[in-house]
Amino acid sequence: MIPNSLPILTILVFLPLACCLLLLPAWKRPRLAFSLALASMLLELALTVGLFASWKGLAAVQTALPGFLLLEDRSWIEAFGIRYTLGLDGISLLMVMLTAFSFCVAILVSWRAIKERAVLFLVLLLAMETGIMGVFLSLDLALFYLFWEVMLIPMFFLIGVWGHGRRIYSTIKFFLFTLFGSLLMLLAIIALHLFHAQQTGVVTFALHALLKTTLAPHTQLWLYAAFFLAFAIKFPLFPVHTWLPDAHTDAPTAGSVILAGLLLKTGSYGLIRFGYPLFPQAAHILTPLFYTLALIGIIYASLVAFAQEDMKRLIAYSSIGHMGFVAIGIAAWQPVALSGSIIQMANHGVTTGALFCLVGMLDERAHTREIAAFGGLWGKTPLWSFFFLFFSLASVGLPGLNNFVGEFLILAGTMKSSPLVAALAFGGIVLTLIYMVRLVQEVCFQEERQPLELTDLVPRELCLLALVALLNLWMGVHPAPLLDLIRTPVRLLIGGGP
């Protein structure tokens, strides 16, 4: 391994956690704490953008693992062969950027909304960022698992303490669902590691070493099933999606942004980084199941979304639908579709995050999220309505906005291998269109149903949304730099030669 002079990846992972310590002296001064936390998150974002700006230069230097721009490798728990290995390739760079960005959005949207116990809120948010960064950068399965579970803990408190409605029920459900899947994955990780040790005598959890383990077909199937379950719960795929609507609805806005923007992506990322490469044959065998679950998810979630009366819940269900597309792209395991899935992961994070922000802002003002309570907002809060329309259109895949790119690539890629799936998924887009347009129409354009005193967006919110909208537009109009970024890793994953 090439030692880096500066451990950038470690900084990326632990900078937020280090900032937690900085916040402790500011315990009594929430405003100061907010500024400090925002500063560290912006610094984090700047770091990732800096990496993005220089990735071509980094790619020119060969690291020990092909396709990886940066690597860090240190010994950690030698008795178990667990190493502290972080690696950054194009896919993780995209995810890391999304993470840094989503956290900036999350903190800005909480700026006024979180009044009580603000410092604790920020500490949890920062700890969460460390966990998610770790998930996207770990190349050692044990280390990955550690971050994977650690990120649950702050989310448990974020939903439980600052949530609404049945927050306690929702947060426990979220925690138990995800933990249940993860624990079986832990066993599979241990088993895989033992098989490898048996075959080679090398005790390791390193991904690149475990990739070379030969497994009997049925063993592979069992291990993959455990991984798949853990990732499917995070994804979430039908029928293990039931935690998501509750958790999203009852979480504070920042929590929803992070849940939709990042936590769901850890599931798809895990499948791309670990599930498929480690167990290719098993993954191939289970592809029909994966397709079926994804399609059911898309159609079922769309139908359920149509019946929702709570805006936030509706958007939560739309997330299940969108993640179904990501799932289809992964299941196709084909360069175009997989690129589409990865791009779509970022797109969905940006778009749905923004939609959750918008609903959160409305909720702060009107103290309700019921669709039936609104109407005619276009006249009353034109700025809010504009952005709501903008992101809703992005969400249904209007060409020129970001989701279109991802969905197009996914469908184009899938069409080659399984046209039927692509056709059915296309039907899903139409369903999405129906419920999103209905939502916008009811909220923004109908007659006013309840006299509500609403103020329009304040400058902070306006700046936030405008930035997200610009990013969205950029990703939709000019996705080439992002596609370039993930081209090599995708090719290496699928095995089309270097």
Binding site: I77, I172, L179, L187
Partner: protein, 485 residues
């Protein structure tokens, strides 16, 4: 006239035991002259004694000395467990003082009794003769019966003492009977001799007497470590005993039971591993499941932790079932982790309780998180560790134990284990839900943190986190410790 020759006995292996016994007896004497308001000093002296004993144990690390004609041994296995006992005793002593003063039963005998318990436990870990182990077990048990009923003004504590005594005596009967049968079958009480005998048999499990002896001994130990279906005494005793003693009992004596059982099974009955592994498979599944399922429905937090401690014994039994180096080292590491996290959690319970503990329910923690942030964070760390979440000691411990089981091919046992672990998360989370997500009903203004408890919490939190983040520093000792077995 014949001279009676006294054989040269090497006292080194039992130096810590001798030291603690002498100290405890001296303290009993001194106690008579200490006025009742100043019994804390006995506690301080005991604590220093525990540290001194730990130093004695530590200096013996790496040596292998047998003594008393092979009745006791000083090896790393014993030393590792002795450290666990001393840690448990030290932490228990630290949290006792404030509790005992509050409950108005601050009798100085408490601390010498704890020290005697430790001596018994140490003999159990160091004994290489069934008789030594039995003596150790009795010294430990008799002291514990008294400790459980120590709060003599309190009915529940009396009940705990009596119940523990009756059932403990009953289980000792099993154990002793098993030892007697084994002696009858093999002609020796030496662990090594029994092993030699068993190795000479073509099929040792066909020797009914030997098999029955082994089974009865396992039954006896199962009582001591509270494995289902021999766990019935645990909840009542743990609930009724003074809280610091509950903390102590859940960690120390349990580890001692494991230590003795490990040595007997892995050395004497290693040729019969196929037989006892199956038995432990059943015991492990029962213990984990019964402990966790029952804990789900508990409102009293001491009772909840009692059932949880049954479940944790179940996880250790997974290591027994595996019976391989990974599983065995896993048990040792787990018991060390468990000592930190469980006594830590009990320390918080001691702090939150009022006199007589009328507020011993999970609900009484409502809003605690924002009234006493530091204590609540400590409690959360302990609970997450008990639940097996990284990056805490509990996670590494479970990782270790389940690795051992998978290594031996007990996949389903590991699956049942993690499912249990997932279920257990619910009742640990419940405490945190009350601490952070419910409105406070109390001001917690009676709560005071004395310096000893603060120290014990500091040690527990550090231990829980350090073992979780950089376990290597202890893992190597655990692995060295099992080499000699």
């Amino acid at each position: 006239m014949d001279m009676i020759t006294i054989p040269a006995v090497n006292m080194t292996p039992i130096m810590p035991e001798i030291f603690l016994s002498v100290l405890a007896m001296a303290l009993l004497l001194i106690n008579v002259f200490v006025p009742s308001g100043q019994k804390s000093y006995i506690g301080y002296i005991s604590f220093i004694g525990v540290i001194a004993a730990a130093v004695l144990v530590g200096t013996g690390w790496g040596m292998h000395v047998e003594s008393f004609n092979g009745a006791v041994v000083q090896d790393n296995f014993a030393s590792f467990f002795k450290m666990i006992f001393l840690l448990a005793a030290g932490l228990a002593i630290l949290i006792s003082d404030q509790y005992m003063v509050r409950e108005e039963c601050n009798h100085g005998e408490l601390y010498p009794l704890i020290l005697f318990t430790v001596v018994g436990m140490m003999l159990m870990a160091a004994g290489t003769d069934l008789m030594t182990i039995f003596l150790g077990l009795e010294v430990m048990s008799v002291s514990l019966y008294v400790l459980a009923g120590f709060n003599r003004e309190n009915r529940k504590s009396n009940e705990a003492g009596l119940k523990y005594f009756l059932l403990g005596a009953f289980s000792t009967g099993f154990l002793l009977y098993g030892m007697a049968l084994t002696y009858g079958a093999t002609g020796s009480t030496r662990i090594a001799d029994i092993a030699t005998f068993a190795a000479q048999q073509s099929l040792p499990s066909s020797n009914v007497m030997l098999l029955a002896g082994m089974l009865l001994m396992i039954t006896g130990f199962a009582f001591k470590v509270a494995a289902a279906p021999f766990h019935m005494w645990t909840p009542d005793v743990y609930e009724g005993a003074p809280t610091p003693m509950t903390a102590f009992m859940s960690a120390g004596p349990k580890a001692a039971g494991f230590a003795a059982a490990l040595r007997i099974l892995l050395v004497s009955f290693s040729t019969m591993q196929a037989d006892w592994s199956q038995l432990f498979w059943v015991l492990a599944v029962l213990t984990m499941t019964v402990g966790n399922i029952t804990a789900l429905r508990q409102d009293n937090i001491k009772r909840m932790l009692a059932y949880s401690s049954i479940a944790h014994a179940g996880y250790c039994l997974v290591g027994f079932t595996a019976g391989n180096p990974t599983g065995t080292a896993g048990i040792m590491f787990y018991m060390l982790s468990y000592t930190f996290m469980n006594i830590g959690a009990f320390a918080i319970i001691v702090l939150v309780g009022k006199k007589g503990e009328p507020n011993g329910n999970v609900m009484d923690f409502a809003g605690f998180g924002f009234k006493h942030p530091a204590l609540a964070v400590a409690m959360s760390i302990f609970l997450f560790s008990l639940a097996g979440m990284p990056p805490t000691a509990g996670f590494i411990g479970k990782f270790y134990l389940f690795s051992g089981a998978i290594q031996k091919g007990y996949i389903w046992l590991a699956v049942i284990g993690v499912l249990n672990s997932a279920a257990s998360v619910y009742y640990y989370l419940r405490v945190m839900v009350y601490m952070y997500m419910k409105e406070p009903t109390e001001e917690f203004d009676w709560l005071q943190v004395s310096a000893p408890i603060a120290l014990s919490l500091l040690i527990s939190v550090t231990g829980t986190l350090v073992l979780g983040v950089v376990p290597s520093i202890v893992l190597q000792y655990a692995q060295e410790a099992i080499k000699l077995i």
